[in-house]
């Protein structure tokens, strides 16, 4: 597979996963209505509303918000002309505008990209990654981050987070209702199929888990897509591959281990062992290296 077919395949899978999210929301709403009766319709819109406001607020201000959450500091061209040269090279290769650049003082090598659109993009690097990598490796990392910008991954993850958030809030509210005798509606409507009620209840309890898993799966697909797009920019899979090898060999992790921003880094900041594969925001690094190696052999 070359990078073009990789890009197309990853895009298709993201769309499939987003459709899965939509189906999940529908199933949850259906289950809620079955279990509690139609009076819960209002609660559904409240949950979706809360999720929309919170996630889209952070999406709109993502560049500023992430700066404060990660402690990154914006830098100017004069602070690191060599880094700016490398970034400028990728803007030429990708046709994207020049992003804002920030530095996180942290010895763990890592990097991330954010911003609601290419015009408001921000890419950040830890001091560790700038020290650890040579020109080609850093170029691969920059291409990966700019690929996130080009693929609008902040938008994709905002959509995923909104639906996952709405499901979580909804499930939480309904579980509370259950304790306070939410079943009254059901009795008024003359009961119903008990099997359907049990299934609905199980769905309501498991839905947040399923939503989290889908959200993580989307995040993993976007990482693979960004790797493929990075190669489309540099035509040099070896650079990114050896950068990932450096990251794989390095055992230090970025200090703040907030799960809220885990998905934005190039390498997951959470300890790999503590996160099971289903909930991981990143594909295993060895898998990513293998895919890039297969692209190298194509020449």
């Amino acid at each position: 597979m070359n990078f073009r077919t990789m890009q197309a395949a990853n895009r298709r899978k993201t769309i499939g996963l987003l459709i899965g999210m939509g189906v999940l929301v529908w199933v949850v709403v259906y289950a809620a209505l079955t279990y509690f009766g139609s009076s819960t319709a209002g609660i559904v819109s409240i949950a979706v509303g809360i999720a929309l406001v919170s996630v889209w607020g952070s999406y709109y201000g993502s560049d500023k918000l992430v700066l404060t959450m990660t402690g990154a500091k914006l830098i100017q061209e004069s602070d690191n002309p060599k880094l700016f040269d490398l970034i400028h090279e990728i803007t030429i290769a990708s046709g994207l505008p020049m992003p804002k650049v920030a530095i996180v003082v942290d010895s763990a090598p890592n990097a991330f990209a954010t911003g609601r659109n290419p015009e408001h993009a921000l890419i950040a690097f830890t001091t560790g990654i700038l020290d650890a990598m040579d020109r080609d490796q850093l170029q691969g990392v920059i291409a990966h981050e700019m690929a996130h910008v080009a693929n609008r991954d902040t938008l994709v993850s905002a959509v995923a987070a909104t639906t996952a958030g709405a499901i979580a809030i909804l499930s939480d509210m309904l579980t509370r209702m259950m304790w306070f005798g939410g079943g009254r509606d059901r009795n008024r409507e003359g009961g119903g199929n008990p099997l359907a009620l049990v299934v609905s209840l199980v769905i309501l309890i498991l839905a947040p888990l399923a939503a989290m898993m889908l959200k993580s799966a989307i995040s993993r697909k976007r990482e693979s897509l960004a790797d493929a797009t990075a190669v489309a920019f540099t035509r040099n899979p070896a650079g990114l591959r050896s950068a990932l090898e450096v990251l794989a060999a390095d055992s230090t992790v970025v200090q703040q281990r907030s799960t809220a921003v885990a998905h934005i880094w190039i390498e997951s900041p959470l300890d790999a062992k503590s996160v099971s594969k289903l909930f991981s925001t990143h594909p295993p690094i060895a898998e990513r290296i293998a895919v890039l190696k297969s692209m190298e052999s194509l020449g």
Binding site: K82, E89, I92, A93, G95, Q139, F233, T234, R235, N236
Partner: protein, 183 residues
């Protein structure tokens, strides 16, 4: 009812034509922009050369033929017009610069000088920018030419006054496949 249906179909067709037309025009503009990016980067590289030649001359006086090759290639590159001519001159200059930097390898004092090191970094990033701008241009020419040749967009090419564009092909075929030029 019937008139609404007919109007609806006409509106749909109009939207389709406008979308096809705009896509072709947009692709054409992107190719123009990509071309001017190549010119900007080539000019940047040409501007670096006098300084680089002077610096190397300071340490390696007896390499006159190499200097001449670079100066001639640079003159050709700056006066070239049109895509084919510019690409040919670009390829020649890239070769000549490689020769110059190969010469520099033989002079340890030169290689250690900070002036040369900063010029070398600037030249390698410019060389990358030149090859990335070529790559971006050729990718966009490829999309444009595909649109001009394939149905349905091909039907609107003459309406949008968009024709196939020329690829930017550097003489040395390796230059196109390897964007990262190492010095």
């Amino acid at each position: 009812m019937k008139t609404i249906l007919v109007l609806g179909v006409i509106a749909l067709i109009a939207v389709f034509i406008i979308a096809q037309y705009n896509r072709l025009v947009r692709l054409n503009i992107t190719v123009d922009e990509a071309w001017s990016q190549i010119e900007v980067q080539l000019k940047r590289r040409a501007d670096l050369i006098p300084n680089l030649v002077e610096t190397v001359k300071g340490y390696a006086k007896h390499e006159q033929s190499t200097f001449d090759a670079v100066v001639t290639a640079r003159a050709k590159a700056t006066s070239a017009t049109g895509i084919a001519e510019t690409a040919a001159a670009d390829g020649m200059l890239t070769q000549a610069l490689r020769g110059l930097l190969a010469v520099a390898e033989a002079y340890p004092d030169l290689k250690a000088s900070t002036n040369f090191l900063s010029l070398q970094e600037e030249l390698s990033t410019t060389e990358n920018k030149v090859s990335f701008s070529r790559q971006f241009y050729n990718d966009n020419v490829r999309s444009l030419n595909t649109a001009v040749k394939t149905i349905p967009s091909s039907l609107f090419a003459s309406l949008a006054k968009v024709t196939e564009r020329e690829f930017y092909e550097v003489e040395n075929p390796q230059d196109r496949n390897v964007p990262n030029v190492k010095f």
